[in-house]
């Protein structure tokens, strides 16, 4: 397609085409950036600045007057909020576990599915299904899986470990009511639900790796692992950066899985940061305080995303 366009005459008039090119680029930049700037300014910029200002007020939208409290909200969050540390730890725990595991599993599944000689489409669809499975079905099934007395997981444990192997274990494991097990149980469901999403990203990334790279490397006698390590992984780098960054951003703002499965219990061990913030805003009408929490989280996420950018850029130069 491109080869047919090549003509020596056009290649000759270089300086002129350069000028045209730059003008064309400016046009493209204007077309891309100006509407974008207007949109983001109106739709996100103003609300963010508004919220930031209101984080210094005792803001209740229903109230006629709002009291200025200075840094009071931030101070309360950092020093007096009894749950602040707990919800931050929960959120970090969730992110640190689900993001890497989700990424590795999705990469493995994507590579495996892509390597199949037949039924690729079928497997791609199957692994995407949890993403579209309804919240109701997801929560009913997973709560049943985790149920202590009649749940499938405990029944299997009872059958295999206790009845067959005669291990001295009580098979009534309280998956969702134990302070230590509830969070991992929610994480497992969350990884299951999100796997197909990340897989699709990797599939899209894998397809953009030109096959010539592999062929050239094979001619040079590269082994399989070397192909994966030195071609697939580095060329998936932009995708990895994306998956990791959005994973961190999404993980730190996790809300729905806990809301559906545990409502933050037991003992607030599964209450994430945004859940806490949501309650402050919409059940206590403390929007000012919720805003200060939002900007604290904003700063934390910003820090880690840029840290990640720095680390990954220096390692692979992307």
């Amino acid at each position: 397609m491109i080869a047919t366009r090549r003509s020596p005459a056009q290649a000759g008039a270089k300086s002129q085409s350069n000028r045209i090119r730059l003008a064309g680029q400016r046009g493209m930049i204007a077309l891309a950036v100006l509407p974008l700037a207007v949109f983001y300014l109106v739709w996100v910029g103003i609300p963010m600045i508004y919220t930031f200002i209101m984080s210094f007020y005792d803001w209740n939208p229903l109230s006629v007057t709002q009291t200025f409290v200075g840094a009071g909200n931030y101070l309360e969050a950092l020093t007096r909020d009894p749950l602040f540390k707990r919800v931050l730890i929960n959120t970090a725990y969730y992110t640190v576990v689900t993001v890497p595991i989700g990424l590795i599993l999705a990469l493995v599944v994507a590579v495996m599915v892509n390597s199949l000689p037949r039924f690729i489409g079928l497997f791609r669809a199957i692994y995407f299904l949890p993403v579209v499975t309804s919240v109701v079905a997801t929560s009913i099934i997973w709560r049943w899986l985790y149920q202590s007395r009649f749940g499938l997981i405990n029944q299997l444990i009872g059958m295999v470990l206790v009845d067959t192997l005669h291990l001295p274990i009580n098979p009534s494991i309280p998956w969702l009511t134990s302070r230590t097990l509830a969070m991992p149980a929610v994480m497992a469901m969350s990884i299951w639900k999100g796997l197909g999403f990340t897989m699709v990203l990797f599939l899209a990334g894998l397809t953009s790796i030109p096959s010539v790279y592999y062929e050239a490397a094979k001619i040079d006698g590269a082994g399989v692992w070397q192909l994966f390590r030195h071609i697939t992984i580095p060329l998936l780098q932009p995708t990895m950066i994306f998956v990791l960054a959005t994973g961190i951003i999404g993980g730190m703002q996790v809300f729905a899985p806990m809301y559906v499965m545990t409502q933050g219990g037991p003992a607030n061990m599964t209450k994430p940061f945004v859940y806490h913030l949501y309650e402050k805003a919409f059940t206590l009408y403390r929007f000012g305080y919720a805003s200060s929490l939002a900007f604290i989280l904003f700063a934390i996420i910003m820090f880690f995303v840029f840290l990640q950018f720095q680390v990954m850029k220096t390692r692979w130069e992307y």
């Binding site: 046009g27 974008l36 079905a137 939002a294």
Partner: protein, 295 residues
């Protein structure tokens, strides 16, 4: 075309076993199938349960232990979902707004992603940082200011209220920017030497190359828009403007949720998302062909 891809041979080898090349492929392919099938059961089971539950009696859906197959196919739930809420109308509203928003996001994300990745201009990095930053602020605190803006722009209770906020997606811009990085500059320069204009390069070279990623973005954005509840709920007042999630949410009353009806409605509402997925996933394969060709 798909067989041109190196990956069918790459990944089985990655699965790691010794021996002659051809034998390895066969053995590891079988292993691949077995592993993927085992995992697939876990992935597919709740979905099948959801679909079958749309044909159950309402007490069967919350039975203990769960009943997998309905005692007899029962269409009551589907009929109820269709008649008790204006399902057809809500479905049409959802389809219209999700389609328009998805097409818009594909265009805007590709364009902005391309410009951010392949051009150099002042404020470029800052712009990217700001796009990223908007993803980092939790939605509960932006809801009210955004609502006030929607009031000012007189968007309340219009389709625009559902579409306008979805014209741009930070996620989409970020995703496209990352992908555009992997397009070799030499390829663009070659096209420029051939005299192709910048819009032409974008439309005829970059967009086709981006097809697999655009397909993925289309699926995600369509799905998000399709499932979104809070924003439509806040800006829409009259029932004939409701989207499907809003309609289904009315099966939750003050004290309990009619899980059976919600699930039946959700099952029907998942069909368009699946169609979009199945149609678009072909693009992954075509994407390989494109990329391979330019060599």
């Amino acid at each position: 075309m798909a067989t041109d891809s190196p990956l069918p041979t790459l990944a089985p080898e990655f699965a790691g076993s010794a021996g002659p090349y051809r034998g390895r492929v066969r053995w590891t392919t079988v292993l691949n199938y077995v592993l993927l099938l085992l995992g697939g059961v876990v992935m597919v089971f709740p979905f099948i349960w959801m679909v079958l539950s749309a044909f159950k009696r309402s007490d069967e859906i919350i039975a203990y232990p769960p009943i997998f197959f309905p005692s007899q196919p029962n269409f009551d739930l589907l009929v109820r979902v269709w008649t008790e809420i204006n399902f057809g109308r809500y479905f049409a509203n959802s389809l219209l707004t999700a389609t328009v928003a998805t097409v818009a996001v594909l265009l805007t994300s590709a364009l902005v992603g391309f410009v951010l990745a392949k051009y150099r201009f002042r404020g470029q990095n800052l712009l990217f940082v700001m796009v990223l930053a908007t993803m980092m602020i939790p939605w509960p605190v932006l809801l009210i200011p955004q609502y006030l803006i929607a009031v000012e722009l007189k968007l309340l209770n219009t389709y625009w209220a559902l579409i306008l906020p979805s014209l741009y997606s930070s996620f989409g811009i970020f995703m496209m920017r990352q992908f555009m990085h992997s397009i070799p500059n030499e390829l663009l320069d070659a096209a420029r030497i051939d005299g192709a204009s910048e819009p032409h390069i974008f439309a005829r070279l970059v967009l086709p190359l981006a097809t697999p990623v655009l397909a993925a973005l289309a699926i995600f954005h369509f799905m998000w828009h399709w499932d979104s509840l809070i924003w439509p709920l806040v800006v829409i007042n009259t029932r004939n403007m409701y989207t499907l999630p809003l309609g289904l949410a009315t099966f939750t009353n003050q004290y309990w949720t009619d899980y059976a009806a919600v699930n039946a409605g959700a099952t029907v509402s998942v069909i368009p998302v699946l169609i979009v997925y199945v149609v678009l996933q072909r693009q992954f394969i075509e994407g390989i062909a494109m990329t391979g060709m330019k060599a």
